[in-house]
C-alpha cells in the first residue's frame, strides 16, 4: 500500500482530523473576518454602485467553487498517481480549465447582475458586466497557480489537502476577491 494512502487511512479518526479541521476553520474564520473588515472598510466605495450586492456573493462564491474543485481534482489525481509530474498534461489541463471557467463565470455573473439590478432598481448598470468579468479573471489568475502548488505540497508532506485546502481557498478567495473588486470599482467608477 502506498505510504501516503496508508497515512491518510490511519489519519481518518476523530483524534487526527479534528485538529486539522479546527486549525483549518480557524484559518478560514480569520480570513473571513479580514474579508469582512475589508468589506466594511470599502463600503463607501461599494455603496454608490447600484446592484453591487447582487454581484458580490456570486464573484466570491464562483472563485471558491472553481479553486476548491481544482484542488480536490488535483488531490485525488495525486492520490491515485503519486508519481505524476506537475508539468504533465493533467496538471496543465486542470489549471487552464480553471482560467476558462473563471472567465465564463464572470461573464454570466456580469450579465445576470445587470439584469437583476435593472429589475430591482430600474437602472441599467452595464459596468456591472465589466466588474464581473475583470474581477473573476484577475482573482483566478492570481489564485490558480498558488492553489495547484499548495495542494501538491500538502500532499507530499503527508497532510490531507481535503481538510485544509477548502478553508485556505475560501479565505484567500474572499480577501483577494474583495480587494480586486474594490480596485475594479475604483477603476470603473
Amino acid at each position: 500500500m502506498h505510504h501516503h494512502l496508508k497515512r491518510r487511512l490511519v489519519s481518518e479518526t476523530a483524534r487526527h482530523y479534528i485538529p486539522e479541521i479546527l486549525s483549518g476553520q480557524l484559518f478560514s474564520i480569520i480570513g473571513g473576518l479580514i474579508a469582512g473588515w475589508l468589506l466594511a472598510y470599502f463600503r463607501h466605495s461599494f455603496e454608490p454602485v447600484v446592484g453591487f450586492l447582487v454581484l458580490l456573493p456570486g464573484v466570491i462564491d464562483s472563485t471558491g467553487n472553481i479553486q476548491g474543485s481544482l484542488s480536490a481534482r488535483l488531490n485525488h489525481t495525486v492520490l491515485r498517481w503519486p508519481k505524476l509530474k506537475k508539468d504533465s498534461g493533467v496538471w496543465q489541463n486542470n489549471r487552464l480549465a480553471a482560467y476558462i471557467l473563471s472567465g465564463l463565470a464572470g461573464l454570466i455573473l456580469g450579465l445576470a447582475g445587470v439584469a437583476v439590478s435593472y429589475a430591482l432598481y430600474q437602472e441599467l448598470n452595464i459596468r456591472l458586466l465589466y466588474i464581473g468579468i475583470i474581477s473573476c479573471l484577475i482573482i483566478n489568475t492570481l489564485l490558480t497557480p498558488f492553489v495547484a502548488f499548495l495542494t501538491r505540497r500538502l500532499f507530499e508532506r503527508g497532510h490531507d489537502p481535503d481538510n485544509l485546502m477548502g478553508p485556505i481557498v475560501t479565505s484567500l478567495g474572499d480577501i483577494t476577491g474583495i480587494v480586486v473588486l474594490a480596485a475594479t470599482v475604483f477603476l470603473l467608477f
Binding site: 487511512l9 479541521i21 473571513g32 469582512g36 462564491d61 464562483s62 467553487n65 463565470a105
Partner: protein
C-alpha cells in the same frame, strides 16, 4: 454494477474537464445571486449595521467549508470502499457530523464577538440587547445550516458516486453555493425581522 469513475484521469482532456465543471460553475454562480438579491433587499440596514456586514464572509465561509469537508471525506471513503450504500450506518460519518455541529457552534460565537469588536473599533456603537440578539441569531443560523448541509452532502455525494460520476466535479460547487445562499437568505431574513 456501477461504473468506476476516474478510470483514466491521466487522459482527461481540457474539454472534458470544462464540460464536467461548466454546469456546476454556472449553477453555483446563478444560485449565489439569489443570496445577493436577499442582501440587496436589506441594503440600507446592511451598510449601517457594521457587525452584520463584517460577519457575512466568515459565516458563509464556515458553513460552506463544513459541507465541503464532509462531501470530500465522503468521496474519499467511497474510493477506499469504506462508505456503505446506506450511510446512516457509517460510524465515521455520524461521528464527523456530531463534531461538525459542535465546532460550528463554537466558531459562530467567535465570529460573532470578533465582528462586534471590529465594528466597535470602526466606530459602531453597541448596546447589550443588540449583542445578545446578534450572537443568538448567529448560533441558530449555524445549527440549522450545518444540519441541513450534512444530510444534503452525504446523500447527494453517495448517489452521484454510485451512479458512476465523479462527485468532486458536482458536489463541492453545488454544496458550497447552496450553503452560501442559504446562510445569506437566512441572515437577511433575521436582520429584516429583528433589527
Amino acid at each position: 454494477m456501477p461504473k468506476i469513475f476516474g478510470q483514466q484521469p491521466v487522459k482527461e482532456s481540457l474539454r472534458q474537464i470544462i464540460r464536467e465543471n461548466l454546469f456546476p460553475v454556472i449553477f453555483g454562480a446563478s444560485i449565489s445571486m439569489i443570496g445577493g438579491i436577499g442582501l440587496s433587499l436589506i441594503e440600507s440596514k446592511l451598510y449601517f449595521l457594521l457587525p452584520v456586514l463584517i460577519t457575512i464572509p466568515a459565516l458563509a465561509d464556515m458553513v460552506g467549508d463544513f459541507s465541503t469537508i464532509i462531501a470530500s471525506k465522503s468521496v474519499a471513503l467511497i474510493e477506499q470502499k469504506k462508505l456503505p450504500r446506506h450511510w446512516e450506518h457509517s460510524k465515521v460519518i455520524l461521528g464527523l457530523s456530531f463534531n461538525m455541529l459542535w465546532i460550528a457552534l463554537f466558531y459562530s460565537m467567535i465570529i460573532g464577538f470578533a465582528a462586534l469588536a471590529i465594528a466597535y473599533f470602526q466606530g459602531f456603537s453597541l448596546d447589550g440587547l443588540f449583542v445578545v440578539k446578534f450572537v443568538l441569531i448567529l448560533g441558530l443560523i449555524n445549527i440549522v445550516m450545518v444540519l441541513f448541509l450534512i444530510v444534503f452532502s452525504i446523500r447527494v455525494g453517495s448517489l452521484v458516486a454510485y451512479h458512476g460520476h465523479d462527485p468532486d466535479n458536482f458536489l463541492i460547487p453545488i454544496t458550497t453555493s447552496i450553503a452560501d445562499v442559504g446562510v445569506l437568505l437566512l441572515f437577511s431574513l433575521m436582520v429584516y425581522l429583528f433589527f
